[in-house]
Symmetry: C2
Subunit: 263 residues, 2 copies
């Protein structure tokens, strides 16, 4: 049975880290919220699985929640992305990837490596959150324009302090992995390599000035991005219509006023 | 062999979520960075395991990194907390807990429940990051006083929008779990319940005004906190000197100017 991936339509977002793994593995999956509305399809299917309230217009959806949630061992998601695999429902990006990776053969099978991979993935996730907060430092409930002054300050620190802090760490991880040159975990490509591609791709879109010297400063990460981008199934995906373009509804946003070379 | 927990001395921080599980289970563990300096003990032991640089004064530590890191299957931590269990090294709070929980019998053993627990734990972790950013919305590298104006704006949104958003979700999870009344996952206490206690305890310390109506608004979460606090080993821990008091070096900081009742 095909995996069902639930994520907001119209942007890459955190769902893209899951897509990268599914696409690279050639797995069969359905993007539920990109489908036309229908039973178990479309945005309605996604929001009904997430609904926690039973007020006003939401009453008809919310009434179904206890049943659906119990069907999935009480797994009510807080937010997309989430993944349905038969009667199992998994939420949170790194959690979905940790669940999928052994099934897609995108992580070494021993326990220590799987937890090492997940630790790295969570560090990627921390950086993704910081990339988002660079344009929304005050509140997700406010528009960018309402926190533009604060965003400029936070984005400056992100470029000068946080990108070097995270990236020198990841570069060092590549340097230390003598078992698998060019890979973050183990001897072969893992989902962590794919997520690293997506992270650097997003940062390069958002901060072309801030990332200008990236390949020189972090040559092993630069090589990883080049190698991952050449993987046949992934290259086909990236060139396809399924790959939504970067845009300013997403985590990685290009606002020229937030971008500048690192000091 | 005792677990070795590595975390900054002098604060609860993210290490506290790991301590709650170890203490409740009565597990034997050593707080490495709280020990006097010595071979494999003290702050030096912690920072040498995290070192990514080999410049200046750090050269002597950094020279050991490739060896140590390879000893731990290349697991170089980005930041504390991290846990050493024999020759396995695990970083990132939720990852440590996912590794420990089956060993401490603090999670149901089936795969779906373990991933459901981890999804909830990651949602707790997201809220912890937001609680931190309420007083540091611009940069961890700047003092609070340098971002106080922005902090006031962000803390207001945290109280009015984010606490209700997360807590009504967690309350709903408790409501839907008919298998284990008073528990977030499964029929018995899990590490997620212990982390929820710690989260709510921290929020109550930081935002006594913002959390004033908490027990009324979220009665099931209020009952969970009361029940977890009465668990014998945990109550003994909370009353001990091992439980560091909340303070303003930590994630949950009480700055009266950031606290007010929810609108």
């Amino acid at each position: 049975m095909a995996y069902e991936l639930y994520y907001w339509p119209g942007l890459q977002g955190r769902g893209e880290f899951v897509r990268m793994a599914l696409e690279d593995a050639g797995a069969s999956y359905l993007e539920v919220a990109r489908e036309p509305e229908g039973p178990h399809r479309g945005m309605g299917a996604m929001t009904s699985l997430m609904s926690t309230e039973a007020t006003g217009a939401e009453r008809s959806h919310a009434a179904q929640v206890p049943t659906s949630a119990r069907q999935f061992a009480n797994a009510l998601p807080f937010a997309p992305p989430f993944l349905k695999d038969g009667d199992v429902l998994i939420s949170q990006t790194s959690n979905i990837l940790m669940y999928l990776a052994p099934r897609l053969q995108l992580v070494p099978s021993d326990e220590a490596s799987r937890f090492w991979a997940n630790g790295l993935q969570l560090t990627i996730a921390d950086m993704v959150t910081e990339a988002h907060d660079a344009h929304h430092p005050i509140a997700g409930s406010l528009y960018y324009e309402e926190q533009k002054v604060e965003a400029k300050r936070r984005a400056g620190d992100f470029i000068d302090v946080r990108i070097p802090k995270f990236m020198s760490y990841f570069e060092r991880v590549l340097e230390l992995n003598r078992d698998g040159v060019g890979h973050l975990v183990g001897a072969e490509v893992s989902y962590v390599d794919l997520s690293m591609f997506q992270l650097i791709d997003g940062l390069t879109y958002a901060f072309p000035q801030g990332m200008l010297r990236f390949g020189q400063d972090y040559p092993l990460l630069g090589a990883l991005v080049a190698d991952v981008g050449k993987r046949p199934r992934l290259a086909a995906y990236l060139a396809s219509e399924r790959r939504w373009p970067h845009n300013e509804s997403c985590i990685f946003r290009h606002y020229p006023e937030l971008d500048r070379p690192a000091k």
